[in-house]
Symmetry: C2
Subunit: 274 residues, 2 copies
């Protein structure tokens, strides 16, 4: 790379770091990339750190020592989180979203990359210091959320299938009972897709009684994995008895009134202790 | 935002732009954000533009006039594309990936956010000036690729289902014939998920004869959509007769030799005319 002026160097350093979250970058890499002295690089990183904090991008950690460097940890502060979720809530309370049977249409929200990105940033921020190995979800609508979350954590994401496909090799399957419909269903995960003794975050788009999340927890036991937590976009309050505890939700769906055409939502459990 | 020094301003401008691809940002936004004169902002943007080009991030377009501004268009150059794909190819040719039946295990690759990101960058780069309205895929493994692609294009992504779920409202379903297994299958898309007369890019992970892509094309006709193109990660050469033409692939799977435990791959059609 040709030698850059300071302002260009700072701009490049910023893009380099935010495109590589949770990756330890040795200072020598920057020294070589910019043909600059270590002292200049350290000063630059201090400015990057302050800019990241000011713009609400997260933290720049310094790891000291010979094997050290810097690591960008994306994080979302409470105000930003609340602003994003309040905006989503307003959009989702639109009565045109009521579908026959009292369901709520929200696929269009989960189709917008900005929205998926925001949700992924919030979920990953909540578990940024948990030392996760994987993010896991079950097909279909949770997949973009799991991917977005994993992107900000720089760990692989794993997709549990509702059937087993031949291209996956040997799979582990379990039966589980959906908490709301009481139907017995199957989910499976390829044996190869996860190392034993991993720490895992469960992500999904919607939760009623929590049967699907309960199923994923049981499946993860077969892989001797530790569940660090679970995050859902929307949690329904229609089913009082939950099969899982301590699930973080961004929004709570309190009521869908088909007769009067109203939807009422509240901020989710992620805001409860904040 | 407090008034920043030039180097911090450049760093912040970079993160602001690369986190908002394909979005027109008026210069007044930067003027206010940094409390700086228009002439300084213009100079800064020139430096950002040069840095983006040098680091292979893409283009910074200037849109003149009162309703103008700047727009960041992510792009990947041929060398970068080739380096990424060659590295993936080396990893995928590992004989341990051969599954019973001559299938190739590649789910672990499509589980790594960096890999999915690279593929999304390449696909989006190829269609960055196509004026797309949507990226579309069919569940399951293509979903992360479609999302990553849509993220770099700043357009919604749409997931075609292999069944229909009640939470989607009214759906359009079609039957299609898988080109390799000759089985009749169903795919469906919610009526609400796409506006009429849209321009669409099809994305998937794997293509044999192209029956699934052909099916998506037929389904898109029901939405009066125009197909701008189709991109797949890996194209199999095992099926000679293809049901679709002009599909961009990153890699070609030439042969899986179960007896001698070898896999042979080539660069895909995206490199053909380059």
């Amino acid at each position: 790379m040709k030698k850059l002026k300071r302002s260009a160097r700072l701009a490049d350093m910023m893009q380099y770091l935010i495109r590589r979250p949770h990756l330890l970058i040795p200072l020598t890499l920057f020294k070589e990339r910019y043909q600059a002295a270590k002292s200049s690089i350290s000063e630059d990183l201090q400015i990057i750190k302050e800019t990241m904090e000011m713009s609400g991008l997260g933290e720049l950690l310094t790891v000291p020592g010979a094997a050290g460097g810097v690591k960008y940890i994306p994080a979302v502060d409470l105000k930003q989180m609340r602003d994003w979720v309040e905006e989503l809530r307003t959009g989702l309370e639109d009565p045109d979203r009521i579908l026959p049977g009292g369901y709520l249409y929200m696929s269009d929200y989960l189709s917008q990359p900005q929205v998926v990105n925001q949700i992924g940033q919030i979920f990953s921020s909540q578990f940024r210091h948990a030392g996760l190995d994987y993010v896991i979800t079950v097909e279909t609508k949770g997949i973009p959320l799991a991917y977005a979350t994993s992107q900000y954590l720089n760990v692989p994401f794993v997709i549990v299938r509702r059937d087993h496909r031949v291209t996956e090799g040997s799979v582990v399957s379990i039966n589980y009972v959906s908490g709301s419909t009481k139907r017995i269903q199957t989910m499976s995960l390829a044996r190869r897709s996860m190392k034993a003794n991993s720490k895992v975050l469960i992500v999904d788009d919607f939760m009623k009684a929590g049967g699907t999340i309960r199923g994923m927890m049981d499946l993860l036991q077969e892989f001797e994995a530790e569940v660090a937590g679970a995050c859902v976009f929307v949690e329904s309050l229609a089913t009082a008895e939950k099969l899982v505890e301590n699930v973080y939700s961004l929004l709570r769906l309190c009521d869908v009134d088909i007769k009067n055409k109203t939807i009422s939502m509240q901020l989710g459990s992620i805001f409860d202790d904040q």
